[in-house]
């Protein structure tokens, strides 16, 4: 079995190297063929692994590939842990990646960096697989940073654009703030358990929960709480939780296929996956889980508001991603890990679909991204229109669609939770349902319906993009509809995850739902008696009234509530704050240390001062010596002679 796991990660890597290093030799067709074959092979093998795990009941695999280093008795290894959680992630990653690879043929076909792009996305697939398949913290960190680097390279793919190369640096640095916490968390875990391997660490988790550590003054902090919060800071960076969310909207500077793959479906969910993977640790700290829940809830609601005022088609979807990541995070905080991962999975498909559909619109519109300049496109782009509708319905949780099951499960779980912060979280999520429906259908109506606000030039060339573009849309639309129906039973309310996810009995919020779960159809019917679908419907109707029925109203409302509008347009001033305080503060500090410390005190004062002293001394003895270096050398040798003499006499 181990060879299969190796093949799964190495196929995309080999393809990436071929396309990257020999792109000119193998050509454009060669590059996309080899990378699609690589990722395709990974996908098929991942399916085989999933089947072996789920249907054949194969036990989880935990093994070492090679020993990275043994230092101080700590074995640092590269190895795989493949259980049902991993297998699910592997299928999600490789399937979305495969769709994006195919789509890219169409989206990037006239781009000069064609081979480079394929190389990057295959490399990303490799890194992401290494992340989800890791069986130890070091490899997790490897994958964690590696996906970050590929994201950096891809956001800055169009490297001549100033906005793109600003955005990619920003993304990397904000993620590094998260990684800063993450690495400290790993260090604390190593210190506490003496190992970096998941199995050993999880086995020692109970012992860890009794330990305390002195951090500030004499107060003793719980090791497990501190470790979990530090790890979660890493997740906040990667999964863009407030206040480390600022990089994700800017990451839209990258080409649309990677917005779908990296900044919606896979990489940004790494934080969610990580917390679920670490459930044996997080379960032992209610405090950490409360933090997770409150951060997630805040992100879910407040980034959703921002989506309502955006006019760039990709940015609307980006804020929607932020908000949905918040939903997943809340689920984790409520101990409903399975629901969080389930939403991760459905979201991967419908959000990739929405991004790729947005990309399809962008191609058709000749790289126009402002939704105010669109309208009525359903006539010209029927497939894109239909798939966008499916994606949007799934996103807002329309009963029966994939997103409905996952979102509903989260809201129910939070309702059942008794943890500090769960009341706040529940309200955030409920209001969030309305906001999600509002921004989703605002965009949908502005793009596809209403008056055509296009310029005539764009209109002449408007047509459905080629098959490589719409085929992935169609293929992604299928799971966006049916996936929830098929899998909600076993994954959320059943025993799909088995030992892969650990929940303490007292925290088992999904258990209550499981008792009442009698198949997906009954679940849908039951939900119709609950407020959630009706709130979503309210959001859609509101969007319909504001943007189709009475399109002059939004502007009037914006003027009426200009203070609120300004706050939202400026994204709560996070960027300004970071720019003024952190960026400017750092450079000011650097200038101060450099000029006041290095130049004034050390160089002018100490160094040149002693040079002047030596210079003065050499003036005195200038009759004896001449020349530059010897002035100084002489003074030293003379001093040396005196000292040595003294030592000899004293000794």
């Amino acid at each position: 079995m181990e060879n299969i796991y190796l093949a799964i990660v190495l196929c995309p890597l080999a393809a990436a190297l071929l396309a990257g290093l020999f792109g000119r030799v193998i050509g454009r067709a060669g590059a996309h063929t080899v990378t699609i074959l690589g990722v395709g092979a990974s996908f098929l093998l991942s399916l085989a692994v999933l089947k072996a795990q789920v249907l054949d009941g194969e036990p989880a695999f935990n093994g070492t590939v090679y020993t990275w280093a043994v230092v101080d008795g700590v074995h640092m290894q590269v190895g795989f842990l493949v259980d049902r959680l991993t297998a699910l992630m592997m299928v999600v990653v490789t399937s979305v990646s495969l769709m994006v690879h195919i789509y890219t043929i169409g989206y990037m076909h006239d781009d000069a960096g064609y081979q480079r792009f394929f190389s990057y996305i295959s490399l990303f697939t490799f890194a992401m697989l290494m992340l989800v398949m890791a069986n130890n913290f070091m490899q997790l960190f490897f994958g964690w940073e590696a996906v970050g680097v590929v994201s950096y390279l891809l956001i800055g793919f169009w490297y001549t654009r100033p906005t793109a190369i600003f955005a990619n640096m920003k993304a990397f640095l904000v993620n590094r703030v998260g990684d800063f916490g993450f690495l400290l968390g790993i260090a604390l875990i190593l210190m506490s358990t003496g190992s970096l391997d998941y199995a050993t660490v999880f086995a020692g988790a109970d012992a860890m929960s009794g330990q305390t550590i002195q951090v500030l003054g004499d107060s003793q902090w719980s090791v497990i709480t501190l470790a979990c919060i530090l790890l979660f800071i890493g997740a906040m960076g990667k999964s863009a939780q407030m206040p480390l969310h600022v990089w994700l909207p800017d990451s839209m500077e990258g080409p649309t296929p990677i917005s779908a793959l990296i900044h919606a479906a896979t990489m940004v969910t790494a934080g969610i996956f990580m917390v679920a993977r670490m459930s044996p640790l997080f379960e032992l700290s209610d405090t950490a889980l409360s933090v997770v829940m409150v951060v997630g809830a805040t992100t879910a609601l407040f980034t959703g508001f921002l989506g309502v005022v955006q006019n760039d088609i990709k940015r609307v979807v980006a804020y929607s991603t932020l908000s949905q990541l918040g939903y997943m995070t809340v689920a984790l905080g409520a101990s409903a890990y399975a629901a969080g991962v389930f939403h991760l999975m459905t979201h991967a498909f419908f959000k990739a679909l929405l991004f790729l559909a947005a990309g399809s619109v962008i191609i058709a519109m000749h790289h126009e991204q402002d939704i105010r300049k669109m309208g009525g496109l359903w006539r010209y782009l029927p497939i894109t229109w239909l798939t966008s509708l499916i994606g949007s319905l799934s996103l807002i949780g329309f009963p029966g669609f994939a997103g409905f099951f996952s979102k509903d499960a989260i809201i129910e779980a939070v309702g059942a939770a008794h943890r500090t912060g769960s009341g706040y979280a529940w309200w955030c999520l409920m209001i969030g349902v309305f906001v999600t429906a509002l921004y989703s259908f605002r965009m949908f109506f502005l793009v596809f319906h209403g008056a055509e606000r296009l310029d005539s030039h764009a209109k002449d060339h408007l047509h459905e993009p080629s098959m490589v573009v719409w085929l992935p849309l169609a293929l992604l639309a299928v799971p966006s509809v049916i996936l929830g129906w098929l899998t909600v039973g076993p994954v959320v309310f059943g025993s799909y995850f088995g030992d892969a996810i650990f929940t303490r009995e007292i925290n088992d919020v999904l258990g209550e739902g499981a008792a009442e779960f009698h198949g997906p159809a009954a679940y849908v019917l039951h939900a119709l008696t609950m407020p959630v679908p009706w709130i979503a419907l309210g959001g859609v109707l509101c969007a319909w009234y504001l943007y189709l029925k009475n399109p002059a109203l939004p502007e009037r409302l914006g003027k009426q509530f200009s203070g609120l509008h300004t706050l939202l347009i400026n994204k709560y001033y996070f960027d300004e704050f970071n720019q003024k305080v952190f960026a400017r503060g750092s450079t000011a500090l650097g200038e101060f240390f450099w000029h006041a410390g290095d130049e004034a005190v050390i160089d002018s004062g100490l160094v040149n001062g002693s040079a002047r002293l030596v210079g003065w001394a050499s003036q005195v003895v200038r009759q004896l010596q001449s020349g530059y270096l010897y002035h100084y050398a002489f003074a030293m040798i003379a001093g040396l002679a005196v000292l040595v003499g003294w030592l000899l006499l004293a000794g």
């Binding site: 043994v70 940073e145 690495l183 650097g590 160094v607 050398a633 001093g639």
Partner: protein
């Protein structure tokens, strides 16, 4: 002659031969920069031969012992019991290999760009190579001192002759700093000789010393080694020296010369004065963390590429001293030595890694400087448009400098951070700031130099790297990847010596002395 003697004297004699050949063809202008020139070709052959001859050090090394290997020992100055005593252990062997690996690369880097006194240039590097290997291989303290001081001479010449406009200022500053430091070291060595009757460093390791003696000796060594590392606040010579040095000089300075400081702590300060090292460890850790944080901020605002990389070097070397001195707080806090070896290994790996990465970054700047004759960041922008292959490599090295896992830059920092957490949360916290600062200054450099639209006509007319430049950068990139993906071989080679040092420094020498 043993392997180590050959590795020391072959380059030195080769260098003299290159000088002689250069002299015979003196007067002929060597300005064409093309064709086969006997002097540089000979220099390259000698350096490659040295590298090949150094391979047995690696293949025949016995990793199970901390004892000196490949030992050569004979009397030298009988009156003072000075010996010609050579040997390598798990600390020095990798550093010798680093030196022999990088010297051919450095020679190739100056292949076309050095136009004046070429024979002298290549000779200086060969002689420097022999002397540097001498420093790492010497087991006799006086022999060590001779190599240590002699090594400065070719380095002055390299900066002073082939350097930039303010090379004299830089050379004097470099000389002043390093020589002043060395003088105190010599005093300490003489004192240890008077006390023990031998110049063998291994004898010094066994010598009982009182706390006061240890403190003075530690401070004397500190003066020499802190300057070399360099540690804050005796670091200001390095940016100037780097800025003025020719590319090859910068590479050797960053990649090998700075390692002498860390090596000195490992070979002398820690085992000879363990009690004083422990006593002063708080100070040393403080200085290390200042280097990481303060210098990180300073690097952020540099306008000159070489200065930026120089400051980055200082910040990265802060991890070396941090890893070495974190041992005592770990012991004090946890009451266990678990973590000590991790810090020491991390320090060593950081030195090797820094040799590759900083060397590579200076090579990259050299590639640009050869074409544009400017080191100012503002003169660049959009280099990727005209030099895509170069850009790919430079971005790779930049990411390695930012400590990306999978590259060597990660290995040492990771281990030192893991170890320093055991010493206390805030040590690890401050050290980890490098994750953010290191990425910030490096990626900002890349953004301004490599990415963007073509900034000006000079950048527009740049030509991508030649096969020679490609070769040297790819060789170093191979080292960076190897150490990042599979550090086990080198960690294993060091482990016996690391464990030995860990027990040495935890044993008080005061008790034995009284």
């Amino acid at each position: 002659m043993g392997t180590l003697s050959i590795l020391i004297w072959l380059p030195i004699l080769g260098g003299l031969l290159v000088l002689a050949i250069g002299r015979t063809s003196a007067g002929k202008p060597s300005s064409d920069g093309a064709g086969l020139r006997a002097d540089r070709l000979l220099a390259l052959v000698v350096s490659v031969l040295s590298f090949l001859l150094s391979l047995p050090l690696w293949t025949d090394f016995n990793a199970a012992t901390a004892d000196m290997q490949f030992v050569e020992r004979m009397s030298w100055i009988r009156a003072f019991n000075v010996e010609y005593y050579l040997g390598v252990d798990g600390f020095s062997m990798p550093l010798v290999m680093l030196t022999t690996f990088l010297t051919p690369i450095v020679l190739l880097a100056g292949w076309d760009s050095v136009r004046v006194r070429t024979a002298e240039y290549f000779a200086a590097f060969l002689i420097l190579e022999g002397l540097m290997i001498g420093v790492f291989a010497a087991v006799d303290a006086l022999l060590f001192y001779v190599f240590w001081e002699a090594m400065l001479i070719p380095m002055f010449i390299i900066i002073g002759v082939w350097g930039g406009e303010r090379r004299i200022y830089a050379t004097v500053k470099f000389f002043l700093y390093t020589f002043l430091g060395s003088v105190f070291m010599l005093i300490a060595l003489i004192y240890l000789y008077l006390k023990s009757g031998s110049y063998s460093i291994l004898v010094f390791h066994q010598l009982p010393l009182s706390q006061a003696e240890q403190t003075l000796i530690f401070l004397a060594f500190l003066a020499a080694f802190a300057v070399k590392v360099p540690m804050w606040p005796v670091h200001t010579w390095l940016p100037d020296a780097h800025v003025e040095a020719p590319t090859g000089g910068s590479v050797i300075l960053a990649a090998v010369l700075l390692k002498m400081g860390g090596y000195g702590f490992i070979r002398f300060s820690l085992p000879i004065a363990p009690d004083a090292s422990g006593h002063l460890s708080a100070l040393m850790i403080f200085l290390s963390l200042v280097a990481v944080v303060y210098i990180g901020f300073v690097a952020l605002v540099q306008q000159d590429m070489k200065k930026l990389i120089a400051y980055s070097s200082i910040a990265h070397m802060g991890f070396v001293t941090l890893g070495l001195f974190i041992a005592w707080p770990i012991l004090a806090r946890t009451g266990s030595t678990s973590g000590v070896a991790m810090g020491l290994s991390g320090a060593m790996l950081q030195m090797i890694s820094h040799g590759f990465i900083s060397g590579a970054l200076f090579l990259c700047v050299g590639v640009l400087y050869d074409r544009m004759h400017s080191r100012k960041i503002a003169d660049y922008g959009g280099v990727v448009n005209t030099m895509p292959r170069f850009a790919a490599l430079m971005v790779f090295f930049a990411l390695a400098n930012a400590g990306l896992p999978g590259t060597s830059g990660f290995v040492g920092e990771f281990m030192v951070i893991l170890a320093s957490f055991k010493a206390g949360f805030w040590y690890a916290f401050l050290a980890s700031i490098t994750l953010i600062l290191g990425a910030a200054y490096t990626l900002w450099l890349v953004k301004r130099v490599v990415f963007g639209a073509v900034a000006n006509t000079a950048v527009a007319s740049l030509v991508d790297i030649s096969a020679r430049e490609m070769l040297i950068l790819v060789l170093v990139a191979g080292g960076v990847l190897w150490l990042g993906l599979w550090p086990a071989p080198i960690a294993d080679v060091m482990s016996a010596s690391v464990d030995h040092l860990a027990t040495q420094i935890m044993q008080s020498k005061i008790q034995a002395g009284l």
